[in-house]
Symmetry: C2
Subunit: 177 residues, 2 copies
């Protein structure tokens, strides 16, 4: 497991994280059969309550902004009626490392912990999606008090992305690239 400098996790929490990521992966694989992009995110509070869960809807909603994390943070702000999620002690779980846009969104939301499966280098290699330039985000998140845990159940995550591509599904991006 990849972690940033402030990340701390117990065995029990690690088990819970793996369980949630596995559930997201199963749902993610089903979603791609219905025209969703191959990424899914969920936000939980510290008591295990699901606050919001949303897939990538770029192609379905015809909006380049509709990444899974963006959709999920939008829904969480709406459900909790606040732009400031920090008082709720929330964690975001994602089937892949956030792209540069979603990194920003997570920082501005006040979410406290990030758990992801497949890293961006693998996403780019397998799918051809552009994830953006990856600066020292683990350190930058640590500076802002955000714990990051990565590469959870990553082999299964990569498998789902490979299936997405081998079945000829859409790699949505600007058509001039």
């Amino acid at each position: 497991m990849i972690k940033n400098s402030i990340a701390q996790i117990t065995d029990k929490q690690q088990e819970t994280a793996a369980k949630i990521i596995k559930e997201l992966q199963q749902e993610n694989a089903r979603n791609t059969e219905q025209g969703f992009g191959p990424f899914l995110a969920a936000i939980y509070d510290d008591n295990g309550n699901l606050i919001a869960k949303m897939p990538n809807t770029v192609a379905k909603d015809k909006s380049c902004l509709c990444h899974a994390e963006i959709n999920t943070i939008k829904a969480a702000c709406k459900n909790l009626n606040s732009y400031d999620l920090s008082p709720f002690n929330l964690s975001i779980y994602v089937t892949a490392e956030p792209c540069i846009m979603c990194m920003g969104a997570i920082m501005w939301s006040g979410i406290k912990k990030v758990f992801y499966s497949v890293n961006s280098a693998d996403v780019e290699k397998i799918t051809g999606f552009d994830e953006g330039f990856k600066p020292s985000w683990l350190e930058e998140f640590a500076k802002r008090g955000i714990e990051v845990f990565g590469e959870i159940e990553a082999e299964e995550g990569r498998k789902i992305l490979r299936q997405y591509i081998s079945s000829g599904k859409e790699v949505y991006k600007p058509s001039d690239r």
Copy 2:
């Protein structure tokens, strides 16, 4: 004027950019009196048609995602009925340098040119807003074929941000920072 390596501009285009930025600044100053955040963005096509224009609505809409650029790109995708804006040859004009989230959004949209006024270092110094970590974005945008022009009418832009702060308006951010 700041430019990235692929940016090319004629005197006439430079005049037009300054005119649009000045108009946005005037509207931006008025918007802050009505509870909007102190940032405004607009997307134009090459023929000078306005495709979308939106202010920052983070506090008003209670969503940390509602930066001016995000709101404007969302509206442009809706107005043009596509996640891929690249065939429309669009430029985005913003009263300040995009934060890391909005940088990502611009990259994924297919917008071809970015014109901004106040740079992020000045925004942070004047207002206390966090703009994110600023990697080599000018070069990264150039790699993706996106021209960037910055610090247009920046003194007037800084003045409006100073007024926003001195009048005691909200600097919305996670409350734990």
